[in-house]
């Protein structure tokens, strides 16, 4: 178990922090361009497709595919260093963006509430697997994405 004083890094940009209320509600939202309708991520000031400045946090389809999955054996933050190996997933959302996500197999992160198979260590998502993404608060009350294998 992690030392209760150690917390994951909570620092976010002003834009990144805007995900927090949606994480509290368990709603998956990403910035969507009001002009070209594209979803964009990481959080940004203007649309990466059409440069419109009108971006709005909108509900985003949660499904995607794992591009790659690795186990981290080294971390620059004590919170993670105490829980190695830590699973890191890169997920290509069907809606477009590529998102880094925690694995739902980690303690302290909850499943999305969707119907999913029972998770064991061996069932962590691998590349090519279909996953569903959720937005949650981590132990530092900061917004994070969590990926869970689809049944």
């Amino acid at each position: 178990m992690a030392d209760s004083k150690q917390m994951p890094p909570a620092k976010r940009t002003n834009l990144g922090a805007q995900l927090k209320p949606f994480a509290e509600q368990g709603e998956l939202r990403l910035q969507q361009c009001l002009s070209c309708q594209q979803f964009v991520y990481p959080p940004r000031e203007v649309c990466g497709h059409c440069l419109s400045g009108e971006l709005s946090w909108e509900a985003c389809p949660a499904e995607g595919q794992v591009l790659a999955r690795v186990d981290l054996h080294n971390s620059f933050e004590p919170f993670y260093a105490e829980q190695l190996p830590w699973v890191l997933l890169s997920v290509k959302l069907d809606a477009g963006p590529v998102v880094y996500a925690h694995s739902s197999s980690h303690a302290g992160l909850e499943d999305s509430g969707l119907e999913v198979e029972a998770l064991e260590i061996e069932s962590k998502a691998n590349s090519g697997d279909r996953v569903t993404l959720s937005l949650q608060l981590d132990e530092a009350e900061a917004p994070v994405f969590v990926a869970q294998p689809l049944k």
Binding site: P8, V70, S75, S90
Partner: protein, 418 residues
């Protein structure tokens, strides 16, 4: 959009010739794993060594092109007061591992256009306890929001994902990456400046190293360190007047955030200008006598071997199995066949250490040294052409910058008196 504009777009212009430009006085200064000194020490001492080699006064240097990750809160203008110089051309290049070639390209234009006569191009960094962790914790707004919170693995994590994907896509193995790392260590064993040059590296050492992230293990990772790398840029006429042996630029280019729709990186901007580099120089990959890739991780060196035309995409695994990558052609028992391509001849940042804006100048300075015949125990014999490439800036999930240049020795020119 008017058809006139479309026609104009199709006629994409190409870089003008770098004719008349000389690269002189390569220096590598002050390498140390850690240092209490500031970045200005390593940049300033690089400048000091260069002007001493050139036999000129610091006031003869009227241009300064600087790259550093550890210079803050100072910048290139702060250095003017620190060094008490009055340049008329200043450039600071925050492009990490692509900085050296980019500095070279811009300084060459400044000299060609008369904006400066002698430009000092320098990458220098210090390395103090905890400074690397501070750098990666807040590297960019995208890393702060979208990568660092996910395990805080830093660049190792992003490259672990890239490496994992590359291995699954193309069948490269850890042994293939090991061939690159081991050949570079052999080169470093012949280059006294290399911080890891006193240690040998075997395949067993490589394979049994401590795991860092996914397929990335200890000897796939570079060691941030203190040090400086630099060279002087001037006209060929001036180099001849000063009696300085020089290297020329046959072709060079850069392209950033290319292939941006690739969901995960397996190539970079080189693919879109490598052919032009060869066309402009009338030589091909087989005429390249040494290749200096940007080796922050071996998988990135493999991408450069592919994207710069030394082998087809996905075939670097075969290339490294069949090609001796050492400076002297020794295959170390890890490659078959008679092919040889000296690669990262000083040991690269994997074995030398990563200083000077993520070692963005390391391969360039080494190429100049080699083509001048000024390398010592690691000298490549009869080297005429070097390809040096840069890559850098992991803003989120991939390296954004790419740069590359083909340099040529002028030994025959000098002998012929032209």
């Amino acid at each position: 959009m008017s058809s006139t504009f479309q026609n104009f777009q199709q006629a994409k212009s190409q870089p003008s010739s770098y004719q008349g430009i000389a690269l002189v006085c390569p220096v590598s200064v002050g390498y140390a794993k850690q240092s209490e000194k500031g970045a200005a020490y390593f940049i300033g001492r690089s400048l000091g060594e260069m002007i001493q080699q050139a036999g000129i006064h610091k006031d003869d240097v009227d241009g300064l092109a600087i790259s550093s990750f550890s210079l803050g809160p100072d910048s290139v203008i702060s250095l003017c007061q620190h060094f008490d110089i009055s340049p008329r051309y200043l450039e600071q290049l925050p492009f990490g591992g692509a900085s050296g070639v980019i500095a070279m390209r811009r300084a060459a234009r400044a000299v060609q256009m008369g904006d400066a006569d002698i430009v000092a191009c320098i990458g220098g960094d210090t390395n103090q306890a905890g400074s690397f962790a501070d750098l990666i914790a807040d590297f960019s707004t995208f890393t702060r929001d979208a990568s660092y919170p996910y395990g805080a693995g830093g660049p190792n994590a992003a490259f672990a994902l890239i490496t994992q994907h590359y291995m699954e896509q193309y069948g490269a193995t850890r042994e293939d990456f090991g061939r690159i790392a081991i050949a570079q260590r052999y080169n470093a064993n012949h280059y006294p400046t290399a911080l890891l040059g006193h240690k040998t590296l075997s395949m067993d050492d490589y394979l049994n190293a401590r795991p860092i992230a996914g397929p990335v293990h200890m000897f796939d990772c570079v060691m941030p360190c203190a040090g400086g790398e630099g060279f002087l840029m001037m006209s060929v006429e001036r180099a001849k007047f000063l009696g300085l042996p020089y290297v020329t630029i046959l072709a060079a280019d850069e392209l950033h955030h290319a292939h941006r729709d690739d969901p995960i990186q397996y190539r970079a901007g080189w693919t879109l200008y490598a052919n032009e580099l060869y066309q402009q120089t009338n030589i091909g990959p087989n005429d390249i006598d040494m290749l200096q890739t940007y080796d922050d991780y071996p998988v990135i060196s493999m991408m450069q071997m592919e994207d710069l035309g030394f082998c087809a995409k996905g075939e670097a695994k075969h290339f490294v199995r069949e090609t001796a990558l050492t400076f002297d052609g020794h295959n170390l028992g890890y490659s078959s066949g008679n092919n040889c391509l000296p690669h990262n001849t000083s040991g690269g940042q994997l074995s030398v250490g990563q200083a000077g804006s993520a070692a963005g100048f390391l391969g360039l300075v080494e190429s100049i040294r080699q083509l001048l015949g000024q390398a010592e125990k690691n000298q490549v014999q009869d080297a005429r052409h070097a390809m040096v490439s840069g890559y850098g800036m992991i803003n989120y999930d991939r390296g954004l910058c790419s740069s590359a240049a083909i340099l040529a020795s002028t030994t025959s020119d000098t002998v012929g008196g032209q």
